[in-house]
Structure formats: structure tokens, C-alpha cells
């Protein structure tokens, strides 16, 4: 997986940074989904505990 995009000069020389890699997009979406799942599970467990104690 690449973090950045580079362009290669046709005249040689070092690669030029041209932006963030779009390969990261699924990882950002995945991170959001993981956050939601973890929060939903913890929230459900917290509610369950409250219901049990009341």
C-alpha cells in the first residue's frame, strides 16, 4: 500500500510528490466502520449493564 503518489520525470531525476495515495480511501472508510462497530458494541454493553442494575 502506498501512502503518497509520485510522478516520475521523463528526464530522469528523483520522483516528485504529487499527492496522497487514493489507495488509502478504503482504509479511512474502514476506520470509520470499525469506530462505529466498537462504539455500538460498547454502547449496547453499557445499556445492558444499566438495565441489569436497575
Amino acid at each position: 500500500m502506498e501512502f503518497f503518489r509520485y510522478s516520475r520525470s521523463i528526464y530522469g531525476g528523483s520522483d516528485q510528490l504529487i499527492g496522497a495515495s487514493w489507495d488509502l480511501l478504503p482504509w479511512f472508510v474502514g476506520a470509520a466502520v470499525v469506530f462505529i462497530v466498537v462504539h455500538a458494541v460498547l454502547n449496547a454493553l453499557a445499556k445492558h449493564r444499566v438495565n441489569q442494575s436497575s
Binding site: 503518497f4 516528485q16 510528490l17 504529487i18 499527492g19 496522497a20 495515495s21 487514493w22 488509502l24 480511501l25 479511512f28 472508510v29 476506520a31 470509520a32 466502520v33 469506530f35 462505529i36 462504539h39 455500538a40 460498547l42 454502547n43 454493553l45 453499557a46 449493564r49 444499566v50 442494575s53
Partner: protein, 220 residues
Amino acid sequence: MDQIASNKPQPAAGQAERVIRHTALDRLYHWLMAICVLILMATAFLPILGIKFEWLDIHWITGVVLAALIVIHIIRALFFQDWRNMWIGLRDLREMRRDLARLFGSRIEPPKPGKYDASQKLYHLGVAVVVLSVVCSGLLMLLKIDTPLWRRNPYLFSADTWGVIYVIHGMAAMTIVAIVIIHLYFTLMPNSWYMLRAMVRGWISREEYTKHYDATRWKA
């Protein structure tokens, strides 16, 4: 005097039971910003995902509109609204720790918040940083295109600097995708529907106000 009193407009039945949470101007700002962000996301990412169309003009024009909205929002928040509603203080940090502890098993009920709770304030701060990053880098990137208002000048920065600007724009844009997904999740949670209604219609009920908020911290 009685005559004057009787001519005074009376609240409709149930009206007094409502607490205004978001004024019409605040809601207008929120939904215009939402529309702009969705258009910007679509014009940025659909072509990357293989759906090709002429996206550039729509993208930069919407970006300029979003930048203008943000400037108006900052001016309103600083000079015409109580910016302290969104300020994160030590008390908020303590409450955030209690909220997290509750999520992880603590049975101590966290105190009621003011108009915005600690996590909402933290979310707002995160959105502010990311959106300002994407907007500022985007405004600089406008120097690379010809528009009816200005001629392109790509030589203002070195190639390396342009690379960094593009990285900031891309990373911030992908972060916004994650933020929007998380925002939709919290919005659609059943226990926060009253907040969604407040963002559509402006009000919450007096009962919701009493149940969810500390009246000493949010006087309504």
C-alpha cells in the same frame, strides 16, 4: 393595558413547551455546508472510483461557496454568538473521561452537559481542523486552474510545496469521508433523533431539555 396585553401574540398551544436549539440561520448554515461537503465528496471521489464526468468546475465552485460559508460562520460564532458553547475546557475533558469510563463499564452516571456535550465539542474541533485544512489547501490549488476570475499561476510555489499542499488536501478529504460516516451514525442513533429534529425544525421539547441538559449550563 389589558387591551395591549390581549393584542400581544400568544404562543400556539404547546409552543411554550419548545426550546429553541438551533436558529433558522444556524440550520441553514448546517444544511448548506452538508450539501457542499456531499457535492465536494462526490466530485472528488466518484471520478477516482471510475465514474468519469466533468468534475473540476463543480468542485472548485462548490469549494469557494464552502469557504465563504465558513468565513460567515466564523464571524457569526465569534461576534454574534456565544463561542464559549463550543470551547473545550478542563471540565469537558473530565466529563469526556467519565463518558468513556461509562462506555467501558463504569456505573457512574456522567453529569448533564450544557448545550453541547464534550464529545460534540471535540467533534466540532476535529471537523474545524480538517475542513479548514481542506479548504485552505483547496484555495491554494485554485492557483493551478484558469477561471473567469483569475489566471493560473502554478509557479507561485515549488513543485515540492505543491506536493505537500496536494497531500494535505487529499488526506483531509479522506478524513472527511470518515467523519461524515461517523456523523451519520450518531445522527441516526435512536437516542439522538431529537437532535436531528432540532437540526431540521430548530427545537427540542421542554421535557427533552430537562432530561438531557443542565439548565445552569444551557439557559433556555
